[in-house]
C-alpha cells in the first residue's frame, strides 16, 4: 500500500481497511444503544446471609419471587445467623436469617447501617423437627424430654430401659442398644431440641440453649443430613434428630411430651400448635411466633428473617419490601411447604409481619 494514493482509492482497494472500518462501526453501533427501566419495575440484586436451614427455604421463595419480578436476583450465603446479623448491620447484606428473633439491643442499635430506627425480625416459616428411630417391631413410641435428654447424653443406652418402658405400656421394646446418630457442629435442629429440653426437661442446665451438642455426646457425625438419614435406615436401634422434609414417610417418629400431653409428629399436630400459639408483637423489635405445646407438636425450628427499617436507596427498600411480601404470601408459603415441608406462621403472625414489612423505607422516603 503506497501512502501517496488518495484515501478513497486506498479504501476501495484494501479489504483489510474495509474490514477494520466495518468492525469499528459495528462495535460502535453495538455499544451505542441502551435500554431504560420501565417505570414501576422492581429490579436489582438482593443479598442475604443467614443460617443454613433457611438455604432451601430461600431457594423455594426465590423461585416465586423471581417469577413475579424477573428483573431481580437474589444471592444467599448460609454462613450462619451471627455472620448474617453482622453483615446486615455493617451494610454487607440487605437481609439476614436465623432461628430466633432479634433481641431488643440488636434491633434498636442506631449505630448500624440500618439507620436510626434499627432493624426488625419477622417469622417466615416453621420447620418441624422429629425424633426418628429405627425399630422394626415398634410402630409407636412415646418419649418425654427427660428420657430423650438422657438418651442423647448416653445415660440411657438400651431401648428396653425402665423409663422408656414406663412411658410405653403394652409396647414390646427390644433389648438392643440405642444408637444415636447426631449432627456434629452448629445446627438449627440441635438448637430447637436443646430449647425443648430447656423448656420441658426437669433439671436442665440454665442459660441459652446451644446450637451444638456438648463434647463427648455419643453418635456425633459430620456427614451430610441425607447420609445420616441413610445411616439411620441401616442401623437397627438407631435414633436421630431430623427435619420434617427428611423424615417424610420414611421413618417412624416418636410422640413427644409437651407439658402433660404427648403429641405425634405430624403436620396437623404442628399446625394446631402454631394456630394456638401466641403472636407477640415487640415494639421496636418485630414479630415473634410462639407454639402451644398444649395444643400440638411444638418441637420445631422457627425461622426468622431480619431487615433494616431503613435503607439508603429507594430501589433497595422496594426490593426488600417486595421480597418480604412474597415470602409471607400464600404462594410463598405453599412453595416452602412443597419444597421443604415447612409450615406457615399463624394468620395473625403473617398479618402483623406484613404490616411491619410495609414500613420498610429508604432514607429519602
Amino acid at each position: 500500500m503506497r501512502f501517496s494514493r488518495p484515501l478513497y482509492s486506498v479504501l476501495r482497494r484494501s479489504a483489510t481497511w474495509r474490514a477494520i472500518i466495518a468492525a469499528t462501526l459495528s462495535a460502535a453501533a453495538l455499544t451505542a444503544c441502551s435500554a431504560t427501566s420501565p417505570p414501576g419495575t422492581i429490579q436489582g440484586a438482593l443479598t442475604g446471609i443467614g443460617n443454613s436451614s433457611q438455604q432451601s427455604l430461600v431457594a423455594a421463595w426465590a423461585k416465586g419471587w423471581k417469577s413475579e419480578n424477573p428483573a431481580s436476583s437474589i444471592a444467599y450465603s448460609p454462613d450462619g445467623m451471627d455472620a448474617g446479623k453482622k453483615a446486615l448491620f455493617e451494610g454487607q447484606a440487605y437481609f439476614a436469617a436465623g432461628p430466633e428473633p432479634l433481641t431488643m439491643d440488636e434491633a434498636s442499635n442506631p449505630q448500624t447501617q440500618c439507620g436510626p430506627q434499627g432493624a426488625i425480625s419477622i417469622p417466615t416459616g416453621i420447620v418441624p423437627v422429629g425424633i426418628a428411630y429405627n425399630l422394626e417391631s415398634v410402630r409407636t413410641l412415646r418419649l418425654d424430654a427427660e428420657s430423650l435428654k438422657k438418651i442423647f447424653d448416653g445415660e440411657i443406652q438400651k431401648w428396653n430401659d425402665a423409663s422408656i418402658k414406663a412411658q410405653n405400656p403394652g409396647v414390646t421394646l427390644p433389648p438392643i442398644d440405642i444408637v444415636p446418630i447426631l449432627e456434629d457442629g452448629p445446627s438449627d435442629s440441635t438448637f430447637a431440641i436443646n430449647s425443648y429440653f430447656a423448656r420441658e426437661a426437669v433439671g436442665s442446665a440454665n442459660g441459652d440453649p446451644s446450637s451444638e451438642w456438648p463434647e463427648g455426646t455419643p453418635g456425633l457425625s459430620k456427614s451430610r443430613v441425607i447420609d445420616r438419614a441413610d445411616k439411620l435406615d441401616d442401623t437397627p436401634g438407631g435414633i436421630s434428630v431430623l427435619e420434617r422434609g427428611i423424615i417424610g414417610a420414611r421413618f417412624s417418629t416418636a410422640d413427644l411430651k409437651f407439658g402433660d400431653v404427648y403429641h405425634p409428629f405430624s403436620g396437623d399436630s404442628a399446625l394446631a400448635s402454631i394456630k394456638s400459639g401466641e403472636t407477640v408483637v415487640n415494639e421496636g423489635v418485630g414479630v415473634e411466633q410462639k407454639m402451644d405445646g398444649a395444643s400440638g407438636y411444638s418441637l420445631a425450628v422457627i425461622e426468622y428473617q431480619y431487615f433494616c427499617r431503613q435503607y439508603r436507596n429507594a430501589a433497595i427498600a422496594e426490593l426488600v419490601r417486595s421480597w418480604g411480601k412474597s415470602v409471607l404470601s400464600i404462594s410463598g408459603q405453599k412453595a416452602a411447604n412443597l419444597y421443604v415441608s415447612a409450615l406457615a406462621p399463624s394468620e395473625a403472625t403473617v398479618e402483623a409481619s406484613l404490616g411491619l414489612i410495609g414500613t420498610v423505607r429508604s432514607a429519602g422516603e
Binding site: 484494501s14 479489504a15 483489510t16 474490514a19 477494520i20 468492525a23 459495528s26 462495535a27 453501533a29 453495538l30 455499544t31 451505542a32 444503544c33 441502551s34 435500554a35 431504560t36 427501566s37 429490579q43 436489582g44 440484586a45 443479598t47 446471609i49 443454613s52 438455604q55 423471581k66 424477573p70 428483573a71 431481580s72 436476583s73 444471592a75 444467599y76 450465603s77 448460609p78 454462613d79 450462619g80 451471627d82 455472620a83 448474617g84 453482622k86 453483615a87 455493617e90 454487607q92 447484606a93 440487605y94 457442629g185 452448629p186 445446627s187 459430620k222 456427614s223 451430610r224 443430613v225 447420609d227 436507596n313 430501589a315 433497595i316
Partner: protein, 559 residues
Amino acid sequence: MRTHKAAPDRTVPPIVTFLRTFLFLSLVFSIWSVATPLMAFPDEPAHTIKAAAVVRGQILIDDGTSFGHGVHVRVPSYIANLHAQDCYKFRADKTADCAPAIPGDDIYETIGVTSAGSYNPMYYWIVGLPSLILTGSPALYGMRLVSALLSAAFYAAGFTALTRLRQPKFPMIFAGLAMTPMVLFLASGINPNSLEIAATMAAFAGFVVTLDNVHRLSQVVPAIVTVVASTIVLANTRQVSLVWLLCAFASGIALFQRHQIAAAFKSRLIVTGMLLAVPGVLLGLLWIYLMLHAPANAGVAPEGIANPQPDVPIYRAFLTMLEKSPEFIPQYIGVMGWLDTPVPMVVIVFWCLIFAVTLLLPLMVKPRRIALGYWVALALLIIVPALLQTSLWRSMGFIWQGRYNLPLVVVLFMSVGMIARLIHLPTDGVTKTAARVMMGALAACQILSFVYVLRRYVVGVFEVSSWPSMISKPEWQPPFGWVVLTILYSALMLAASYRVYGLLFPGSTLFSVRRFRALGTTRDRLTGAKDRATSLTQDAETLLPESTDSSPTGPRNHR
C-alpha cells in the same frame, strides 16, 4: 484475475503478519461475543462483577466482605444484578429471550457478589474499563469485546511467532487444529480462562521459536518479546496460570537438545528477556501471597455444603481425576454455555478423529527421542490437573471442567506439530484431495458448531428438531440477527480453510476460481459469481498471515 497466490515472501514483516492475524481473530471472536447472549459464558456474571469492582478501585478484599458464596463488592446495580440473566442457564430448551433487558439507567451503587474475589486484578482492570464510560448492555458488550481483543492479540502473537520456525507448516497447522470451537467460544466471553489459554499458546509458540533459532536470536526478537509478555500476563491471570506456563516451558525444553537449550540461556537477549519478566512475575507472586493472607470469611458454610463428600480419601480423588481424563475430550471440543450446549455429535466425532491422529502421530516418527516433548506434554495434561483437583477436593469437592485444561491441550497439539516437522507431506493429487476434504470438513464443523449454539439460544433445543423455527419463528435474536452473523462467520471460516490449505500446499488453492465459471446457466450469473468469488479470494488472502515456507515441495524428510 489471479487463480492462486504465489508462495508468500519470507520477508513479510512480523508486524504485518501479527496485525492481519489479529484482525482475523478479532473478527472471529467478536462474532461469537455478539452471537452469545449476555452472561451465557460460564461464570461470566462473577467475572463481570469483579471487573467492574476492580476498575472502581476495589482491588484487595476488605475485612468483613468475604462470605461463603463469594466476596461482596460495590458496583452499579445493573452489574450486581447480572445473575438475573440466568433463566436459560442449564436449560437448553429455554431461549435467551426469557432474560430481562439490562437497563442503562440502573446505576445506583449496590452489593455485588463475585466468586472471583481472590483473582489477580490485572485482567479485570483492562476488561472493566468500558463499564466506566458505558452502562447497561453496551457496557457488557464492550467488556466482552475488550476481552476478545486481548485473547486475539496473544493468539496472533503466537501464530506470528510460529511463522519464524525453520519449518513452520505443521506447527501452524496443529496450532490451528487446537483452535476447537470451544477455544473460539471461550475467547469471546468475560473470563480469564480465555486469556490463560491464549497466553499459554503464545508463550509456548514464542519459546519453541526462540529455541529453534538459538543461533540467530536477533531474527526472532518478536518471539522473545511474546514469551516475556505472555509470562507476565500468565503470572497475573489466575494462580494456576503459572503452572500452565511452567508446563509449557517443560514441554518446549523437551523438544530440543541440551546444547540448544544451554546456548539459549547463555544468550544476552534471552537473559534480558528473563530479567524484564521478573518484575511482572514477582507482582503475580505478591498477589498470591496477599490472597493467602487475605481476611478470612466472615462465616463458614457447614461441612457437607462446602464439600458434598468430606469423607472421601485424597488418593481416591486423584484416581477419580485420572479416570475421568478422557471424559474431558468433548469439553475440549465444544460444550458451550453453562455446560448445557454440546456441539453436534458429528463435530465431536470429527474432532475426536483429529485428537486420535494427534496422539498417535508421534509414535510414527523416528528417532523416538524426538517425541520426548510430546510425551512430556501428554503426561502433564493427564497428571497436573489431577493433582490440582486433588488439592481442592476437601475444600470444594469435584469442580474440575475440561476448559481448565485447554492451555495444556493447546501445548500438546503444538508439540505434535513440532514433531511433525519431520514428516514429508506428499503433494500428489490424492493427498491434495484428502486435504481439501479435511479443510472443508473443518470449516463445516466450525460453522455447524456456531449455528448450532445460536439455535440453542434463538429457538431452543428439543427432542423434535427446531431448525425450521429458526427461520419462521425465532424467539431471540442477537444484535445484527443470527443470519448475518452466520454468513459473516462462515465467510471467515472458509477464508481460514483457504489459507490453511495454501499453507499446506504453497502454490495451490483450496478451490479454483475457474470452477465457479462452470456453475450457473446464464452469462450474468456467471459474471456475478465470478466477481464474488474473486473478491472473496482476494479478501481472504489479505486477512490471514502468509506462510513463510517457500518450498514448493515441503520440507525434506529428516530421518
